[in-house]
C-alpha cells in the first residue's frame, strides 16, 4: 500500500489540482482573469461530451450485463443521500425546508469535475478502473434532485398550508432536469459511444482522449476562480455549512465505497464510486433549485457545494477516498 503522504502529494502536485489552486489564488489576489462565458461553455461541452463518450464506448466493451449492479447501486446512493442530508440540515442546521432541500439535492447529485480529477489521480498512480464507470456521472446526476424536490414539497404541505407559492409540478421538474444541457450531453454522448463502440473511438481518439487532461486542467483554473468567489459568499452565512460541506462528503464517500465493494468493483472503480457519492453538484442542481425553489438562498447551496465541498474533495478528499477503498476491499478479502 502506498504511503498516504506521498499520495496526497501526487494529488496536490498534479496539473489539475495546481491549476485549481491557481484559480483560488487569482481571486485572493483580486487579479483580473475572467473567462468569457463562451470559453467555459466550450470547455464544459467538450468535457461532458468526452466523458460520456468514453463511458459509452467502455460500456459497449464491457457489455450491458456486467454494468447493471453498479448502476443500480449508484442510483440507490442518489436516492438515499438527499434524504438523510435533508433531515440533518433541518434538525442540526435549523435550515428552512427550501434551503435544506436545495442543499440535500446538491449532495445527492454529483460533480463531473471532481470525478475527472479523481480519474486523473488514479491514472497518475497507475491504478486501473472499470472503464464503464465513466458512464455513472450521467446516471447519478438527476435522481437526487427529484428526491430533494419531493422532500421540499412534503415539508411545506406538512407545515403552513396557506402558501401563496404555486405547487411544484414534479413531473415538469424531472423533465427539466433530464433535459438540461449537462445531462443530455452526458447521456447522449454515452449513447453515441455505446453505439459506435471502440471502432468509432479510434477515429476521434486524439480529440476525446489525448487532449482531455489538458482541457480539464484549463477548466480547473476557472473552477478555482468560481469556488473562491462562492466560499466568500458563504462566509456571511455561518459555520455550520462549512462543517457540513466537509463531513458529509466523507460520509457519503464511505457509502459509495461500500456500494463499490458490494458490487465487486476494483480498487479504482470503488474509489471513483466513492468520489461520485462524495461530490456535490455545481451545474445541474443549482439551475434546477433556482427555478424550482426560488426562495431557497443560492449563497447557501452554492457556498457549501462549490465553495467548500468541491475544493475539499479535490485537494484532500480524493487520496483519502482512495485509501478508504483499499482499506475496505482488503477488509473483505
Amino acid at each position: 500500500m502506498e504511503n498516504m503522504i506521498d499520495l496526497a502529494l501526487v494529488n496536490l502536485t498534479s496539473p489539475v489540482v495546481l491549476f485549481f489552486g491557481l484559480g483560488l489564488l487569482i481571486v485572493l489576489l483580486k487579479a483580473k482573469v475572467e473567462f468569457p462565458g463562451a470559453v467555459s461553455d466550450f470547455i464544459s461541452i467538450y468535457l461532458l461530451t468526452a466523458i460520456g463518450f468514453k463511458g459509452g464506448v467502455a460500456i459497449a466493451e464491457a457489455g450491458l450485463n456486467s454494468v447493471i449492479v453498479t448502476v443500480l447501486g449508484s442510483i440507490l446512493l442518489g436516492l438515499l443521500i438527499p434524504v438523510y442530508s435533508f433531515y440533518l440540515l433541518r434538525r442540526l442546521g435549523g435550515l428552512k425546508p427550501d434551503d435544506a432541500a436545495a442543499i440535500a439535492g446538491h449532495y445527492g447529485s454529483i460533480s463531473v469535475v471532481t470525478f475527472m480529477a479523481a480519474a486523473a489521480f488514479l491514472s497518475s498512480i497507475q491504478v486501473e478502473y472499470e472503464g464503464y464507470i465513466n458512464g455513472l456521472p450521467a446516471i447519478m446526476e438527476t435522481p437526487a434532485i427529484i428526491v430533494a424536490l419531493i422532500l421540499a414539497t412534503l415539508a411545506k404541505n406538512h407545515g403552513s398550508s396557506g402558501s401563496s407559492q404555486k405547487e411544484i409540478s414534479l413531473g415538469q421538474v424531472a423533465k427539466q432536469v433530464l433535459l438540461s444541457k449537462s445531462v443530455v450531453l452526458l447521456l447522449g454522448a454515452m449513447a453515441v459511444g455505446y453505439i459506435t463502440g471502440p471502432k468509432g473511438m479510434d477515429t476521434v481518439k486524439f480529440f476525446y482522449k489525448d487532449i482531455f487532461m489538458g482541457m480539464l486542467s484549463m477548466f480547473m483554473l476557472e473552477m478555482g476562480i468560481i469556488a473562491a468567489s462562492k466560499i466568500r459568499e458563504l462566509k456571511k452565512s455561518g459555520i455550520f455549512l462549512m462543517f457540513f460541506g466537509i463531513i458529509t462528503p466523507v460520509f457519503n464517500a464511505l457509502l459509495g465505497i461500500l456500494t463499490g465493494v458490494f458490487a465487486g468493483l476494483s480498487v479504482g472503480g470503488t474509489t471513483l464510486l466513492g468520489v461520485l457519492a462524495a461530490s456535490s453538484s455545481y451545474i445541474v442542481a443549482p439551475a434546477a433549485m433556482r427555478v424550482s425553489l426560488p426562495k431557497a438562498n443560492p449563497a447557501l447551496y452554492l457556498g457549501a457545494s462549490v465553495g467548500v465541498t468541491l475544493p475539499f474533495n479535490l485537494i484532500f478528499g480524493i487520496p483519502i477516498y482512495y485509501h478508504m477503498a483499499i482499506y475496505f476491499i482488503n477488509l473483505l478479502e
Binding site: E34, F35, P36, G37, A38, V39, S40, D41, S44, S164, Q165, K166, S180, K181, F219, E222, M223, I225, I226, S229, E233, Y282, I283, P286, A287, R290, V291, P294, K295, P298, L302, V306
Partner: protein, 104 residues
C-alpha cells in the same frame, strides 16, 4: 408618422428566462428581444461575471415593445413573479415606433 408604445425591460437570471417569456406572451406581447451575457451588481451582489456556471449565474435582459394594455398586463404578471421570490429588475420607457400594427 409615429405611434406611442411602451418598452418594458426585465433583467433577470438566465434560469428564469422561459418563465418571463411565457408571461410576456400570455400578456399578449407580439415579440421580445433577449440580451445575453450581461452582468451587473445589485442588492444580491455581483452576478454573471464568471462563465462556466453561466446557466445559473448570468443575467439576461428581456425587452418587449408593446401597447399600453399589454404593458399593463405584463407588469401585473411580473409583480406576481417578484412576490414569488424571483428577483426581477423591471423598468419601462415611453418610445415611438413607425409601424403601429407591428406591436400589440
Amino acid at each position: 408618422m409615429f405611434f406611442d408604445k411602451k418598452r418594458i425591460s426585465i433583467i433577470v437570471e438566465e434560469v428564469y428566462r422561459d418563465e418571463v417569456v411565457k408571461l410576456l406572451e400570455e400578456s399578449g406581447a407580439s415579440g421580445f428581444t433577449v440580451y445575453k451575457d450581461i452582468y451587473g451588481k445589485g442588492k444580491s451582489g455581483v452576478r454573471g461575471k464568471y462563465g462556466g456556471l453561466s446557466e445559473i449565474s448570468s443575467n439576461i435582459e428581456i425587452v418587449s415593445i408593446t401597447g399600453p394594455e399589454v404593458a399593463d398586463r405584463s407588469l401585473r404578471g411580473l409583480t406576481t413573479l417578484i412576490n414569488k421570490g424571483v428577483v426581477l429588475i423591471v423598468h419601462m420607457t415611453d418610445v415611438k415606433v413607425i409601424r403601429n400594427e407591428y406591436f400589440n
